[in-house]
């Protein structure tokens, strides 16, 4: 009897104490969110790194309360739809895309489903109706703009300011890219404003690029690339090497680790991803996509590669360099010496 009583009392107090203890690491026991990431190439994966960094500000850590399924088309554009479909079949809560081609593929496979699409850096959204209303996007997709099309004009101006005496600039563009017409228009308007002779050349294949550089462009002082999946991925290396051969300074859109151009101006890929983190948190916490406006970009950055400039033999305006993040600044110093 006494033993039974003692056992009951012990059980009672231990249960009360156990039930009274605070749960350990409650935050860790929250739902594990599953997010799909679609990228056309390794080049754009910097955005993914930025996204993960940004998510940390919201207490979300990969493997703890969020997991990513990363599908990378490795430069094969035609494979993007399959990769996107694979993410849908993996029952991800949201598909995060790194550019326009990825967004179009994701939009295609999520049509009719409840999976939203979050893009990390697109331009000229209204141009082809990808997103009709930036404040209340009703197409099941929202995200971050990078204003690359609109920034084409500023890119042209900065190129001419970096290279004093520049009079003629060649625009290389991919005619398949939707916002190209907007970029071209912005560039020609800017050229008129700053008194630059602008020429344009389309390039959809590597052969096109070779032809452009084989043509007689003796009077061209510099070249400017328009935003394009092809030009920044498969075409970038060829452009960089041919430009070096022709001693032609080229300004690109987004800095690349492999293809080294003279200069870039735009929102860094990492920053685009970081900025998208807050929107991703909103989506996975259940906020409707139409209640999340498309956000304009922040953190524009001018990058100048002085090593390339040196190899090209060009004189860079040092007054403007103060505005730039300089790569290989020692190249410029040596040149000065």
């Amino acid at each position: 009897m006494r033993r039974i009583l003692l056992a009951i009392l012990l059980l009672m107090f231990s249960t009360i104490i156990l039930t009274g203890l605070p749960p350990e690491k409650e935050e860790r026991r929250t739902t594990l969110y599953r997010v799909g990431l679609l990228s056309s190439s390794d080049f754009r994966l910097s955005k993914f790194e930025g996204l993960k960094e940004g998510l940390k500000n919201f207490g979300m850590y990969e493997g703890e309360n969020i997991e990513f399924i990363v599908n990378n088309a490795k430069g094969i554009k035609d494979d993007l739809v399959n990769q996107a479909q694979s993410l849908v079949e993996s029952e991800v809560q949201v598909i995060v895309t790194t550019g326009r081609v990825e967004t179009e593929a994701a939009k295609q496979v999520t049509r009719g489903s409840s999976i939203p699409v979050l893009f990390m850096g697109l331009t000229a959204l209204k141009h082809d109706g990808l997103v009709k209303n930036l404040l209340t996007p009703s197409e099941g997709l929202t995200g971050i703009q990078n204003d690359h099309a609109a920034l084409t004009a500023k890119r042209l101006e900065l190129l001419t300011k970096l290279l004093p005496g520049t009079k003629r600039v060649l625009l290389i563009y991919d005619p398949r890219v939707v916002p190209t017409s907007e970029s071209l228009q912005a560039a020609f308007e800017a050229a008129r404003k700053i008194d630059i002779d602008l020429q344009s050349a389309p390039a959809s294949t590597l052969e096109d690029i070779r032809k452009i550089f084989q043509s007689d462009h003796k009077d061209i002082d510099a070249a400017l690339l328009l935003p394009s999946f092809f030009l920044e991925s498969r075409g970038a290396n060829l452009i960089a090497s041919l430009a070096m051969e022709k001693k032609l300074p080229v300004m690109g859109v987004e800095e690349s680790d492999t293809a080294q151009l003279f200069a870039y101006y735009g929102v860094p890929l990492f920053e685009q991803g970081k900025q998208a983190a807050r929107i991703l948190v909103k989506i996975i916490r259940g906020q409707k996509v139409e209640d999340i406006p498309v956000e304009p970009p922040t953190n524009l950055k001018l990058t100048v590669n002085l090593d390339v400039a040196k190899k090209l033999g060009t004189n860079v305006n040092k007054e403007i360099l103060g505005f730039a993040e300089v790569i290989f600044p020692e190249a410029g110093d040596r040149d000065e010496k």
Partner: protein, 622 residues
């Protein structure tokens, strides 16, 4: 007079088991609830005070940080204007542009900066997004330049540019050698969004949300930039209302955090703090659900712990209640057994508590009762034997008559056999007649002795169903000689339809014999004895009435006292009525005695009977 009460069911609220259970539950719930309530309330109040304090402090800090962040953006520009401003105005445009771009790089939230001359002509401009016409433009008619000319150095109102960025402008003049001389200035635009983003990085998400309003209460910055893009109206928020109310008052504003419903319908704790020199307010709001999450967690745990405690207390109460009740039931059963006369039933309750002590005491009491019962039995037997002695002469006379008859018939038969042929006596049937008379008288003798033996036997405690009429008749047989001798007129009216009684036949007979003997002792020759019975609601009533001498009033109070007698020595023991009283009481019945001295005595015996199965008995008799 005593009577037997039926066993009643105890209402559940009177049950000790249920009371113990209820007590256990109530005494666990009430203290837990009271303690939990006050603990949670105190905790909640303290937490709320702490949160209020935190909000007030952090809001003030964030307002100061915002002012500092914005001030930091123009610090470098001020230096340029004050130190090299006049020289800059005279430099080449490319140099001016380069310097302005350098300033953009130094101050990451500067969107655009332009250098203007005293005439309002733009000399150079650096912009992060816009292409600048190298020919310059005139800004003399712009509000910014007008403010510059008037030396009005306040920040402009905020505005949204075509890229969705919230911006504001500020003019920084470049003075000539003469302090009052105006030689030109720098017009700068900053992007508020990135400054707010920078500010919110200092504000972890768990500390709630942060937003900034201008002097009209219009939202110009928000931790969630979407709210700015959507132009969310935050003026419904209490701090914004308070801020707009105190605008323009030249008094120091002391803000106090409060609880309210915010612009999005959520209940929040929040406060505002004014941003000096800008006329804005930083508002911080923490949703109540988020703020009180720790308290709610504690309340949840208290509820769970309380539930577990109540469960165990209830279980313990049931356990003890059942054990307690088991002992009580055993005691109750024991007492019932004693009440029904089963004095050999013993009880033993385990443990060393009060109940086991009570059981022990009751068992001792039982033993004493048993001893007393045995003593009573012995006394009753003695009294019975005494009455038998008194009856002996009458019985002898009663037996003498049949013996005399048998003797006479036997002698006559003997003579006839000697004188006549036995064959003829057999043939005529006379021999048979003689023998029949002898057998009949023998049977009569046997009946008398058998009755006497029955009465003299020591009675046990066995109970049986009794027929009252038969018991009365067999008792009267014992005193038949006296009845005849004293020519007592006996009137018996006991209906055959009475229900059977439950009791010991010897004891009932002893009661009846005592009463009838007393009646005969008090009767004069040719007196009257009336015995009748009737069925009442609760008992069977047997009335024995005589018209004898009755009992003197002064003797009435001693009539049931043991050894009290008014008879001559050797005629009675004085125990008769006392034994009758005890027997009736033990049977669950009672005895009533009414006597009028000189007129007679009436005794009523009330016998209990089993009501179940007694349907159909008629109430006839006296």
């Amino acid at each position: 007079m005593t009577g037997m009460k039926n066993k009643e069911t105890i209402p559940w609220w009177h049950s000790i088991k249920n009371r113990l259970l209820i007590f256990g539950i109530v005494m666990s719930i009430i203290p837990m609830t009271v303690f939990g309530y006050f603990y949670a309330k105190t905790l909640r109040n303290n937490l709320q005070q702490n949160i209020y304090y935190d909000i007030e402090i952090t809001t003030q800090r964030l307002a100061a940080d915002l002012e500092s962040l914005i001030g930091g953006q123009i610090k470098q520009v001020f230096s340029v204007a004050n130190v090299g401003g006049r020289k800059l105005l005279t430099k080449e445009q490319s140099y001016q542009e380069g310097l302005l771009y350098n300033l953009l790089q130094e101050a990451p939230y500067l969107e655009e900066i332009s250098l203007v001359g005293a005439d309002g002509q733009e000399l150079a401009r650096a912009s992060r997004r816009l292409v600048v016409n190298s020919n310059g433009r005139s800004v003399s008619s712009t509000e910014a330049f007008q403010n510059l000319a008037k030396n009005n150095l306040l920040w402009s109102e905020t505005f949204l540019d075509k890229y969705g960025q919230v911006r504001l402008k500020r003019i920084i003049p470049i003075h000539g050698l003469d302090k009052g001389e105006f030689t030109g200035g720098l017009i700068l635009e900053i992007s508020l969004r990135e400054i707010i983003d920078q500010l919110t990085k200092r504000q972890p998400e768990f500390q709630g949300r942060l937003f900034v309003v201008d002097s009209d209460g219009k939202l110009i910055g928000h931790q969630d930039f979407s709210q700015v893009l959507k132009k969310t109206d935050v003026r419904f928020s209490l701090p914004v209302k308070r801020f707009t109310e105190v605008q323009g008052r030249n008094t120091k504003v002391v803000t106090v955090a409060d609880k309210y419903i915010s612009y999005d319908g959520k209940e929040v704790l929040g406060d505002f703090s004014i941003v000096n020199n800008l006329g804005w307010a930083v508002v911080q709001e923490v949703p109540v659900s988020q703020a009180f999450a720790p308290v709610n967690q504690i309340i949840k745990q208290l509820l769970v712990a309380g539930g577990v405690l109540i469960f165990f207390v209830t279980a313990l109460s049931i356990f003890f209640g059942i054990n307690f009740n088991k002992s009580f039931r055993r005691l109750e059963h024991f007492v019932e057994q004693i009440r029904y006369g089963n004095l050999k039933y013993t009880i033993q309750i385990e443990g060393k508590d009060e109940l086991s002590k009570l059981g022990e005491t009751l068992d001792n009491m039982r033993e004493e009762l048993l001893t007393r019962r045995q003593q009573e039995e012995a006394l009753r037997q003695a009294e019975k034997l005494s009455s038998l002695g008194l009856m002996a002469a009458g019985v002898a006379h009663e037996i003498n008559n049949p013996l005399a008859i048998m003797s006479a018939y036997a002698e006559d038969l003997q003579e006839r056999i000697e004188e006549e042929e036995i064959k003829d006596l057999v043939t005529s049937g006379e021999l048979s007649d003689y023998l029949e008379v002898i057998v009949k008288q023998t049977t009569r003798c046997k009946g008398i002795t058998s009755n006497l033996l029955d009465y003299s036997r020591q009675s046990g405690s066995e109970k049986a169903k009794l027929n009252l009429k038969q018991v009365v008749e067999s008792t009267l047989m014992l005193v038949e000689y006296r009845l005849k001798k004293e020519r007592v007129l006996v009137d018996i009216n006991i209906p055959q339809e009475l229900p059977p009684l439950s009791g010991n036949v010897d004891e009932v007979q002893q009661v009846l014999l005592n009463i009838v003997t007393n009646a005969l002792d008090s009767l004069e020759p040719s007196g009257q004895l009336i015995i009748c019975a009737r069925l009442n609601q609760d008992n069977v009533e047997l009335e024995i009435e005589d018209n004898g001498s009755g009992i003197k009033p002064e003797n009435m109070k001693h009539i049931f006292d043991p050894f009290f007698t008014t008879k001559e020595p050797g005629k009675g023991t004085g125990l008769g009525l006392s034994i009758c009283y005890n027997i009736m009481q033990r049977m669950g019945g009672y005895l009533e005695l009414n006597s009028n001295f000189g007129e007679g005595t009436k005794i009523k015996l009330m016998f209990p009977y089993d009501k179940e199965g007694s349907y159909g008995y008629k109430n006839t008799g006296c």
